[in-house]
């Protein structure tokens, strides 16, 4: 019963009216931006960070989490109806979802996706409930060397798994680490890279960087990309899948839940990879794989289940180790830091209301989303009529004015615009912005743990290999760093294998 008490108390936290309201706001916003092609969940969360300053930490994270998993539901709608993935994690849903819609089964596809999302999400929350305290308990013994290794591995994995050139992603990560050093050195108190500016003396805040690179950078980039005009379909009939459809998809939903859960935990994993892996797995397992791409219900149910399960389980490394597994989680990390809460293994013990409040809010959020995406789907389809031309200046203004409200200073607004330019140029030149923000968030932790460990080891870097956990993590680090080089050199000798083109073409929308 000792274990269950805080869990039940968490429900009391969620059921407070304020928290319920913010949960609802979060999932509605998530659903909306999921439906609208363009802004992804990370950009939205970045833009809305100033909103979280004036509320309790638990309320803030409940809302931001709602945006994240709400977007996974919303992204399905445009994939199925318009063949336009609203989110990167719904790209594979297009293949079978749109075919189902053409066969007059749009409602069935959406219904299956929502039910799958709900089951995947809920299964992942249950997994999170039991797994997270164990991981946190295990990580309580972690010292600076383990954190150094963990942070290094996290940054490397996020950089290598991102799309595009790995070297460029690593460069972005290095820039993020470098930006994190701006300001006063915590050990000696000396100023670094401040160029005599008083405003830089305390370092660069996380919020202007996130708002600029993710938010404004993405807005500017979208100005150019001009999304193909979406014609909103008039009506979606009968979203309730038949019993036969459900039976056909139930295996895919089950497998998608498990696969998504585990891919979400891995650093660098997350919703997009989970959905692609699930699609590949379903196609491989199917007795008639040729049905895929022609409206196979499993091809919708599996990926949609997996992306929701992954979105939920990617909270585990953040809330238990304090290591964000992907760019969106880096934003959550930043949001918690702003609130004076340091995510880490102590969180479950020291801050049970926050931990269990956030976890349990996801049950409520999933139920809300199920309600919104089955009976109310027609309303969200209508949102598609809002044109990007109108949305762009509104989001840009929200970003600028929101940035001002952080510290009531124009300096932050200027920073946002500067980082917006950097973010736009990075995307233009093929540098993923995700690793930069993630590395920036982890930069201080990484530097201080590394310097502390070196003090302990008397300056000998080999000391990291003298401790079992940090040694293992560093060995994995080296493997991850070296493996792609070996693989490409092997692949060059063999004749090229035609990979499914879809996997390379999907750009992680942040």
């Amino acid at each position: 019963m000792d274990f269950l008490n805080p869990v039940i108390n968490g429900f009391a936290v969620v059921l407070e009216p304020t928290n319920l309201l913010y949960c609802l706001i979060g999932v509605v916003i998530g659903m909306l931006i999921g439906v609208l092609p363009g802004l992804g969940p990370a950009a939205t969360i970045a833009i809305l960070l100033p909103l979280t300053y004036n509320v309790e930490p638990v309320t803030a994270i409940i809302m931001l989490a709602g945006i994240f998993y709400g977007a996974q539901y919303g992204g399905t709608i445009t994939s199925v109806l318009l063949r336009l993935p609203g989110e990167a994690s719904s790209v594979v849903t297009v293949f079978d979802g749109y075919q189902m819609a053409r066969q007059g089964k749009a409602g069935t596809a959406l219904g299956l996706a929502s039910i799958g999302s709900f089951i995947g999400g809920t299964a992942a929350i249950i997994g999170l409930t039991f797994l997270a305290p164990i991981v946190a308990g295990f990580a309580l013994d972690f010292g600076p060397p383990e954190y150094t290794a963990l942070a290094l591995l996290g940054i490397l994995l996020v950089a290598t798994i991102s799309s595009g050139a790995k070297a460029k992603a690593l460069i972005a990560a290095a820039l993020g680490l470098l930006l994190a050093t701006v300001g006063r050195d915590i050990f000696t108190g000396e100023s670094r890279f401040t160029f005599g500016s008083l405003q830089l003396a305390d370092g660069i805040d996380f919020v202007p960087i996130a708002m600029g690179i993710f938010g404004l950078g993405e807005i500017l980039y979208n100005l150019e990309e001009r999304h193909r005009a979406a014609k909103a379909p008039s009506k979606v009939a009968n979203v309730w899948p038949s019993r036969g459809d459900l039976r056909q998809a139930s295996g895919a939903i089950g497998r998608g839940s498990v696969l998504g859960f585990f891919l979400g935990i891995l650093p660098g994993g997350g919703a997009t990879i989970a959905s692609m892996a699930s699609y590949a797995m379903e196609k491989k397992r199917a007795k008639q794989p040729e049905r895929f791409g022609k409206g196979a219900p499993e091809g919708v149910a599996g990926p949609e289940t997996a992306n929701n399960a992954a979105a939920t389980s990617s909270f585990i490394p953040l809330l238990t180790l304090g290591i964000p597994a992907n760019a969106t989680m880096a934003l959550m990390f930043g949001a918690l830091l702003i609130q004076g809460v340091t995510p880490g293994p102590q969180l479950v013990e020291q801050n049970p209301e926050l931990f269990w409040g956030v976890v349990n809010s996801m049950y409520i959020g999933n139920i809300l989303l199920l309600i919104m995406s089955l009976p109310l789907v027609g309303i969200f389809v209508r949102i598609l009529r809002v044109r990007a031309a109108i949305l762009a200046p509104v989001t840009a203004l929200i970003t600028l004015l929101g940035a001002y409200t952080i510290n009531n200073s124009m300096f932050d607004v200027t920073l946002v615009v500067v980082f917006g330019i950097i973010g736009y140029l990075m995307k233009k030149f093929g540098f993923e912005p995700g690793p930069l923000v993630l590395a920036f968030v982890l930069g201080e932790l990484l530097e201080s743990s590394m310097r502390r460990s070196l003090l302990v080891f008397g300056g000998d870097p080999l000391g990291f290999f003298g401790r079992p956990i940090s040694a293992t993590l560093l060995v994995v680090f080296v493997l991850v760093a070296v493996l792609p080089v070996i693989r490409t050199s092997i692949a060059k000798r063999k004749p090229p294998v035609a990979a499914p083109a879809a996997r390379q073409d999907i750009k992680e929308k942040v």
Binding site: A165, I219, L220, P393, A501
Partner: protein
């Protein structure tokens, strides 16, 4: 549209993979297989930038890296057991410079950078309006710059009609005034 900047699919360091099919456009739009659909998306993407752009971005990275190395050294390095403030930035900037050099030599033919086209004038215009707004906000408040920004973005960047532009811009600015000034009482510089 540009002829997609040649058809080299050179993947020197984990870049693009060979595309499954290039004939997506000859098919009727609704009958595409996933592979053809992906190929069609690939074609609709902005054209890839040439080696020159890749070189330029690598040089910028290299420059920033070397600059940071120099600054770090001037901060003092110390030893691993008693580090000076510059040691950690020194390590990162060395990694950055090395990656920049690697990218300069091996990443020239990557196709992940996008060419600047006439479409790029839109973000440039957007940027100018944003910068103007930042400059003008402290002087004349946010309302007029925000209205101008809305009008430019909707009419000229978004191709809305004048009627809907003016109507929506006015509503948007009024809404922001209501939220940020009246409801939240923030100290955003405002004229009225």
């Amino acid at each position: 549209m540009e002829p997609a900047g040649g058809s080299t699919t050179a993947a020197s360091s984990g870049g693009t993979a060979p595309r499954a099919s290039e004939d997506g456009q000859s098919e009727p739009v609704d009958e595409l297989t996933p592979e053809q659909l992906a190929a069609q998306w690939e074609e609709e993407k902005p054209p890839a930038a040439g080696p020159l752009a890749n070189m330029a971005s690598s040089l910028v990275v290299l420059g920033v890296g070397i600059g940071a190395v120099v600054l770090s050294i001037s901060m003092g390095l110390g030893t691993p057991s008693s580090p000076q403030p510059g040691l950690w930035p020194f390590v990162i900037s060395c990694v950055m410079a090395a990656l920049g050099l690697f990218q300069l030599i091996l990443g020239r033919h990557n196709r992940d950078a996008e060419k600047f086209t006439r479409m790029s004038l839109a973000p440039l215009t957007g940027l100018v309006t944003l910068a103007a707004m930042v400059a003008l906000m402290p002087l004349i408040g946010f309302e007029i710059p925000a209205l101008v920004l809305c009008i430019i973005w909707m009419r000229f960047l978004g191709g809305e009609t004048w009627r809907s532009t003016l109507l929506v811009s006015a509503i948007v600015v009024a809404a922001f005034y209501g939220i940020f000034v009246l409801a939240l009482g923030t100290s955003i510089p405002h004229l009225f």
